[in-house]
């Protein structure tokens, strides 16, 4: 998808477009993520959400929504502070995102408001220490967590 095709969506939502050789990145503020994902998925042929990636950037967490069609990807990207890791869920508009959000909730501690798994565990065991950092965060030390769980 070219930047021109996404331009109306960006002008409506506020954000930036960066078109790479294979991926067009659409960066939006956190509160516009649902609209952005709905906007991309409603474009002809762009219904397929491949997955959602969460990345610990240190102070912030980046959330990347990957859509695929043909030889190109569109990546809707947003960033939230680690101190307030909350984001509206896309699961109401795009059911395919339900488990991908639940996975990020478990592993990076991001609460997706409106996701049916909000507050429930999908991947982590029920005995995961509530005071331990989510396991994919940079500050999480696997050995310390294992000790807290009496596994080491």
């Amino acid at each position: 998808m070219s930047s021109e095709e996404l331009a109306p969506l960006v002008s409506r939502l506020g954000g930036t477009i960066n078109a790479g050789p294979k991926t067009t990145v659409l960066t939006v503020p956190p509160d516009r993520v649902v609209d952005a994902c709905k906007g991309v998925s409603s474009l002809p042929g762009w219904y397929h959400l491949s997955t959602i990636t969460g990345m610990d950037l240190g102070q912030d967490i980046a959330i990347l929504y990957h859509f695929w069609q043909g030889k190109r990807f569109v990546q809707v990207r947003t960033q939230i502070p680690k101190s307030a890791p909350r984001l509206p869920s896309i699961s109401g508009a795009l059911a395919a995102g339900t488990l991908y959000e639940a996975e990020i909730q478990d592993l990076l501690g991001v609460a997706f408001e409106g996701n049916p798994f909000l507050g429930k565990k999908l991947l982590l065991p029920d005995v995961y220490p509530p005071d331990a950092p989510p396991p994919l965060r940079k500050e999480a030390d696997p050995h310390k967590i294992k000790k807290m769980m009496e596994l080491e």
Partner: protein, 393 residues
Amino acid sequence: MQYSPEGMMPFGPVHPSLKEPEYFKLFLEGEKIVAVEPRIGYVHRGIERAAQERTWVKNIYLFERICGICSFHHSIAYTEGVEELAPFEIPKRAKYLRELVAELERIHSHLLWLGLLGHWAGFDTLFMWIWKDREHILDIEEAISGNRVNKSYTTLGGVRNDLPDGLADRIRTEMAYIEKRAVYYKGLVQSEETIVARTKGRGRINQELARKLCPVGPLLRSTGIARDVRAEDPYASYGDVPPVVQTSNAGDIASLLTLRLNEITDSCRMVKETLEKMPSGPYRVNFPRSVPAGEATFHVEAPRGELFYFVKSSGGSVPERVKVRTSTLANILTATEMLKGHVLADVPVVLTGMDPCFGCMDRISVVDVDKSKEWTIGGEALRRYGIDYYRRK
């Protein structure tokens, strides 16, 4: 400290990697399934987190251990993703060799699935026949790479070794054999009473649901949507030797049987064509230890569907982040819809229909909605229940 049974499964407090075994809580009204709740992560090994502490090359061996069935697809998705970040031209012969082994892996994966479906449906003879035929493919894979399962064949910059002398003729002979067997199995699954009774009309999905839940692979194509990464976004040498994308309009388990058998036949054709067209020349170039900073999004068509990798490098000798989305994770929500409206006896065949890992069948919880009663049923007990149910009918 007391652990729940789930908590006693191997667990690393890191990121998901093997997402194959699932837990399904089934809500029943009498025999009928009215709701399904998935719970996964039981063999969570934290491979994504572990990858952040290993070098680019070491990670090849780590990622191919995500799945023993489609191990090679994990390694090519990772290596081709990383190769996108480095300005290197990968030798064409290496690209062909990758496609060759990937298609062999697809054949053995589909054969494995067909055999398992026979087993869950109570047709163990089919299971024995098919798994015997699958050995032919595993033997070829061993002859090419030295290993049957974790082949470690692809590497950054190409593949580890060239095709051994004289092996091409043996591969052609084996492909002719598998093609013949696929024709036989196709006739069998379309006419054999047990298989037809257990699969026709079972686990039905349609295009509307597929567009909503975004399943991948044969499950998606069984609804008539012709999406295949190999054809749509070619990697390896799929641009030169493309697949003929197989579809069906029935969207049930019976159509998945035929579809996967057609894919086996097409993969045999592609293996032979790859051997014919394979150029001579080097099969590997030296690849740098550090990968330039950047992000790459890459995906391949694994036997179970789109396998997704996102790679981020900060320019060092280890990745900053590697995200993996396995095919089965994309299919779990669809599988829960496939089960609704069916009876408990259909669970083994319908769940196997989406081609999950073996382990999932050992964790089925059943809730009787009317009596508010909950119990757990093991894999073998559920298999026997399904077989007896259809015998009584």
